[in-house]
Symmetry: C2
Subunit: 454 residues, 2 copies
């Protein structure tokens, strides 16, 4: 990264005198020098704020909060935005933040970051390793959050001291993505889709180099259901297990039957179907010599192909019924959450054009190892209940792999050693700021994207 003084010298004279390491502003008043594109101005502004963005991200990484508990995180975001001169508003949940900037009479462009961490160990050997036992930003939401917080300062400067913003920009810091609750809640309770013509999200992606952006149209995240299988029994002494009271025995067979049945179901689908059914959590019992009275499996059911996905819950239910009948075990519940839709991008060319304008064509990659996960960002495109989604939606994959490391060797999302290159928060800030500052011809038909919903 170039040194601050060499980047800014001769372009933004006020910056040199005003910038301090904890300053999220980067003045857009030009006093002299050549004219550059807005995106190049933003890129240079980001370089100046990169250290601060990195530090903000590292604070979140050290103090991660799991889904439904993002109080400190929201407070930190709120404080930082307020210090930037914005007037942030707490989400009704107290765990999210909204801030707006730009002309009030223009359509709204939503910039969205999720802010929650995961209940898992952080096993990284880094100074910003989590201090909270069993909680880790293993999905990199800390990086995108720091990016959007710092983009806010840049956008505020463009609005106040620079050429102005083409649209009203609404920055949405969303909690509880990992449990697929936060997006729907903020859309319902906080009106984050009101007048929205576009919604732009971003995610840390461990299969793209830091400094590059994965941009494409169509499905960028799969649809998925949360699945919960609960077995119940009378319990008892471990010396007298029976086929229906030994819940760990019957549960092991039950879970295997569902996994193998869904694999059978997936066989013959094309690679686009990307089937994945797996449990992330299972447990029951307190003592080795007492049969448990309850045993629970929690997992996710995912299919990239929407048509196949529609059939999957029914198949899962019938597999469970078959197993239960065969095993003579009836005391179970199979709960399948209503689906989170796929995230389907609709304006990749525009996004690519804007991102390359500031940093050159090499920063955008249009083909990359695709994620198979899901994200409730999808609801920003589909809408919720009677609230229409934004007609334009783009979910950008922000590269986080450090220079020199083969892409395939970077720890994957949701691993104990997942990390993002320290520069990634700045790259995320560039992405968000460019998306907020660039003039697009957004469509007016706000109901258009709802047909993509399940």
């Amino acid at each position: 990264m170039p040194r601050l003084s060499s980047v800014t010298h001769g372009i933004y004279c006020r910056t040199l005198s005003n910038h301090t390491p904890c300053d999220t502003h980067f003045r857009f008043n030009r006093c002299r020098g050549e004219h550059l594109s807005l995106q190049r101005d933003i890129s240079r502004a980001v370089y100046a704020l990169a250290d601060d963005a990195r530090r903000f991200r590292e604070d979140l990484a050290r103090n991660p909060e799991p889904s439904r508990e993002e109080y400190r995180t929201a407070a930190k975001i709120h404080a930082k935005l307020a210090a930037t001169g914005l007037q942030p508003v707490m989400a009704r949940s107290g765990r999210g933040v909204i801030a707006e900037v730009g002309p009030r009479n223009r359509p709204v462009v939503v910039l969205r970051s999720d802010i929650d961490a995961l209940r898992m160990q952080d096993e990284r050997n880094v100074p910003y390793r989590s201090r909270v036992d069993g909680v880790h930003h293993g999905c990199g939401h800390d990086v995108m959050t720091a990016g959007l917080v710092h983009a806010a300062g840049i956008l505020a400067d463009i609005d106040k001291h620079g050429p102005g913003l083409p649209n009203r920009v609404r920055m949405v810091f969303q909690p509880a993505e990992e449990v697929a609750e936060g997006a729907q809640q903020m859309i319902r309770e906080d009106g984050v889709l009101d007048n929205a013509v576009a919604a732009i999200g971003a995610h840390s992606w461990p299969r793209i180099r830091a400094g590059k952006y994965g941009v494409l149209d169509g499905r960028i995240q799969t649809s998925h259901h949360g699945v919960e299988l609960i077995l119940r029994g009378p319990g008892g002494h471990s010396s007298v297990p029976t086929p229906t009271t030994d819940l760990i025995r019957v549960g092991s067979k039950f879970s295997t039957a569902l996994l193998e049945g869904m694999e059978e179901f997936a066989r013959g689908m094309g690679p686009e179907a990307q089937p994945a059914f797996a449990y992330g959590k299972a447990g029951g019992g307190e003592s080795r010599n007492v049969l448990p009275t309850k045993f629970t499996f929690n997992g996710t059911l995912r299919y990239g192909d929407v048509e196949e996905f529609r059939k999957a819950p029914e198949r899962l239910r019938s597999l469970a019924a078959d197993f239960a009948a065969h095993a003579g075990f009836s005391d179970y519940e199979l709960n399948i959450d209503s689906a989170v839709p796929p995230v389907i991008n609709t304006c990749a060319d525009k996004v690519a054009e804007a991102l390359t304008a500031g940093r050159g064509p090499k920063v955008v990659v249009r083909e990359f190892d695709m994620p198979k996960g899901g994200d409730d960002m999808a609801f920003f495109g589909t809408g919720v209940d009677d609230i229409p989604g934004a007609p334009w939606i783009h979910y950008t994959q922000v590269g986080v792999v450090p220079k020199g490391r083969p892409l395939g060797e970077h720890p994957y999302l949701h691993t104990e050693t997942f990390d993002a290159d320290p520069s990634a928060a700045g790259h995320a800030a560039y992405h968000y700021a460019v998306m907020g500052a660039t003039r697009f011809d957004y469509p007016r038909d706000r109901g258009k994207s709802r047909e993509m919903a399940l």
Copy 2:
């Protein structure tokens, strides 16, 4: 149960004036009336103390403490014994109690009760339901503890005011039976087997009517191992499970392979072999969409037939190795605890004779639905390290099933609704007091029973 006044009138005149509901003494000074056997005296003394024993038991039931945490329980026992005029000593662990009474120059008869509860819910609808969430006296140790505490008062009275005790009686209140630690610890640390010629234990048994005692020679509890299976993996996102990273999938198959393999091993053994391998606890993972990095199963491996039992751990290990090789999954640990030996009774006729002397022949049952569990009471017979066991050992099954309920319908040990008839604490007190007060011709050879050890 007869009213106190009608029982005691004309037999023990001091009792009538001295007895209060919280008094554990029952004076053995006779002032007039017919002569009765010592055991009948004890039986009548127990009736007088039955309400107090019931209340003491109900206090333990309301305030259960799981294995390794029996501090309050030990303190309550200590206080009650001290109030009875005994000089109880805390175990070195602070979680057990020892008290002695009777002539110091005589061999020692150990009366042992275990005092720990289980980590499980108490779902009984009774006034003495556990107030501690997730902890329950589901094995009835509260009942035997109350019995032994109240036997102590009777034995102290016989020693001081009555005909005297034939042996030194050492009452041992042992913690951590459910985790098979307490007996060995008290034998090593507290010398509870020093000079012991007999060790008498008792247990609540849900297949015998309250007021009756199950008495037999030979194996009364099976031998068992604690088994722990730990799987480890790199974790990851639930959208990209693989055969070796999806620990709940591989764990379900692994546990099933071990269960089915051990059933195969057990087939062809006689009913005496009583094979039982089951898991009481399993778990791993924190989030439905994050593959766990560790998954653990905890269970017990039991065989009534000692010869078969000796072969079981090796078989289990080879089943695990076979599964791992077949599945291409090598990152596991199979930990099999050193065995708890079977409890093998050696003096049933003497015990039966003494118990019937006070309450008639019907109180002893010699054939009953046998327990298949284990108890570290076994170490009182086998000894530990170089410390020899007691040559005489008897572990009595104390009936707890209320009048009118079919024996097979009473909730089994380690269930959330396991309970003991309110009279059972008194019946346990009778058993312990008779065992402590009766003159037996104990063998002098203190090493004899060690051959029964594994």
